[in-house]
């Protein structure tokens, strides 16, 4: 579903994404790990078109989307939940999702209303349907990020640290939700620091360090890799 080849981005002299290539098939979930500042969010920026890549291509279902602006990539089916939630201050939760369904998925207004209800039920936002964006707690803002992305009916979904601040129990619910999302026509990319969450939900894990891909393999292989343990897991397990 998603094919990335030779993706590069530098800010001045600092190379933040260094020649990353990978593929994620429909029905597959790929976890992305790496220390803070490894370039994970910037990698998503490049995929989503929020930042223009210096080199490399992004293909969605075979089609080159590298030169499309963000909103056109969304129409093609590439959705993203931001690491730092971006709710609309004056829109209600329901309006957020109706808009995502209309603008992102191209639904008519009646279908969009239904879609908003479905997505709210799925992400546990139903009780907050009429709350405006600036009235939400951080946790609900995170949920809304995921809900907005889902309401655009994506073929590729980019999840950036959506579990931040969740309790252990809530993390389990989230894992269940991600597993539930796995269908043959959706590819999932999930940035997270919680190794066990990625291990449970993902088919493979990619590790980034200083912008470069260190390893991409099954969760078991990645978490037992000595370089990964040295770089990252020791620190994350204490967190």
């Amino acid at each position: 579903m998603l094919e990335v080849t030779g993706l590069k981005k530098a800010f001045g002299k600092l190379t933040v994404v260094d020649d990353v290539s990978t593929t994620v098939a429909g029905g597959e979930a790929m976890g992305i790990m790496g220390p803070n500042g490894a370039g994970k969010s910037t990698f998503f920026d490049l995929l989503a078109g929020a930042t223009r890549a210096d080199a490399g291509t992004v293909r969605l279902a075979g089609q080159d989307i590298s030169t499309l602006p963000t909103e056109a990539r969304v129409e093609q089916g590439l959705a993203r939940a931001f690491q730092i939630p971006k709710p609309f201050a004056s829109l209600s939760v329901r309006e957020h999702l109706e808009l995502a369904a209309v603008a992102g998925a191209g639904l008519g207004s009646n279908e969009a209303r239904l879609e908003a209800e479905t997505v709210m039920d799925r992400t546990g936002l139903a009780d907050l349907a009429n709350e405006t964006g600036n009235g939400l707690r951080l946790l609900d803002r995170k949920r809304l990020e995921l809900a907005k992305a889902l309401a655009t009916r994506p073929r590729v979904i980019l999840l950036d640290e959506i579990s931040g601040g969740l309790t252990e129990h809530e993390v389990h619910e989230l894992i269940a939700l991600v597993l539930d999302l796995k269908t043959p026509d959706l590819a999932i990319l999930w940035i997270e620091h919680i190794a066990h969450a990625l291990k449970e939900a993902c088919d493979k894990i990619m590790m980034l360090h200083l912008g470069a891909k260190i390893i991409e393999d099954t969760p078991d292989a990645v978490t037992s890799d000595s370089r990964v343990r040295e770089l990252y897991l020791g620190a994350a397990n204490h967190a």
Partner: protein, 311 residues
């Protein structure tokens, strides 16, 4: 209920020329033009975050379009007024690609510069009567006694039309797009909202409505000159009225216009003092009621969009 009240109010307003004298009809026309102008400006500014300081350029352009359509094409004035709005909208469509390269303050100033350029070009054009202006050649299209009432009804059409336009747009998913863009552009794009297209639509609609209101205003004066048409006073009034009434509120332009004309007429015997009073009042309202007069109603009625507090 609100709807019935609104229809009743429009019917009463429409009957005004049958029972009021000429002075009142003229004042009513002026008020309605200002309501239409403020409503049209509020659409991009209040709902879309696209602040223009050059809408007086569209007022003047609409006015001149009426005079030219009437003189060169012999068009009936009552047909030429709405068409002047169309001409202004098309003009906006062509300048948008340049102006949209500018953001925020730069866009606001860019619009003002565009209006100045228009004024200078028009004052230098012999075809448009140069600095001294043009008489309305279609002045004989209507019997003299019907001029005032016709201008008034045109103004009423413009005021009601722009209000309905904004109301309908903001109820549709287009309104959601506009508000989302104003709140956070990156987040709006991330769910598929096309910023350029949305802004272009509101900008062009706003320009068209402003041009039609401008044409109505200059229809009643039977004469147009660059100084009067492209007067900065238009944009000052529009901004005052909208801010005092309530930015991004449908009722804002009505409340703001009521306040503005009450002050202006109330202080009519004291020369330009009303401008100072207006400035002071605007500042006081901004300090006490940042949402304008329209936000007063929020303080006394329960809000239905807010739900219970989070546990």
């Amino acid at each position: 209920m609100t709807r019935i009240l609104a229809i009743g109010a429009v019917l009463i307003l429409a009957s005004l020329p049958f029972w009021a004298d000429r002075g009142v009809i003229f004042l009513g026309m002026e008020i309605l033009v200002v309501v239409a102008l403020a409503q049209a400006w509020n659409l991009p500014a209040g709902y879309g975050g696209l602040l223009s300081l050059g809408h007086h350029g569209f007022v003047g352009l609409g006015g001149y379009a009426l005079y030219v359509l009437s003189r060169d094409l012999g068009m009936h004035v009552l047909v030429a007024i709405p068409l002047a709005g169309v001409v202004t909208a098309i003009f906006a469509l062509f300048i948008a690609p340049i102006l949209f390269r500018l953001r925020e303050v730069y866009f606001a100033v860019g619009m003002w510069v565009a209006a100045e350029i228009l004024r200078i070009l028009v004052s230098r054009s012999d075809w448009l009567g140069g600095a001294s202006g043009l008489p309305l050649s279609g002045a004989r299209d209507l019997p003299r006694a019907w001029m005032g009432p016709s201008a008034y009804w045109m103004a009423l059409t413009a005021a009601v039309g722009t209000t309905l336009l904004v109301w309908a747009l903001m109820r549709s998913s287009f309104g959601l797009r506009l508000r989302a863009l104003r709140d956070d552009e990156a987040a709006a794009r991330a769910i598929g909202v096309k910023p350029h297209r949305v802004r272009l639509i509101v900008f062009v609609l706003s320009a068209g409505a402003t041009g039609m209101a401008g044409a109505t205003m200059f229809f009643s004066s039977l004469f147009i000159s660059p100084l009067a048409a492209f007067d900065m006073g238009w944009i000052v009034t529009i901004v005052f009225v909208t801010l005092i009434g309530g930015l991004g509120r449908l009722s804002g332009p009505f409340l703001g216009a009521a306040f503005y004309f009450l002050l202006r007429e109330g202080l009519a015997d004291y020369g330009n003092w009303y401008l100072i009073a207006l400035g002071a009042a605007a500042m006081a309202i901004m300090l006490v009621l940042p949402g304008g007069l329209a936000s007063l109603s929020d303080r006394f009625t329960p809000s239905f969009t807010k739900t219970k507090e989070q546990p």
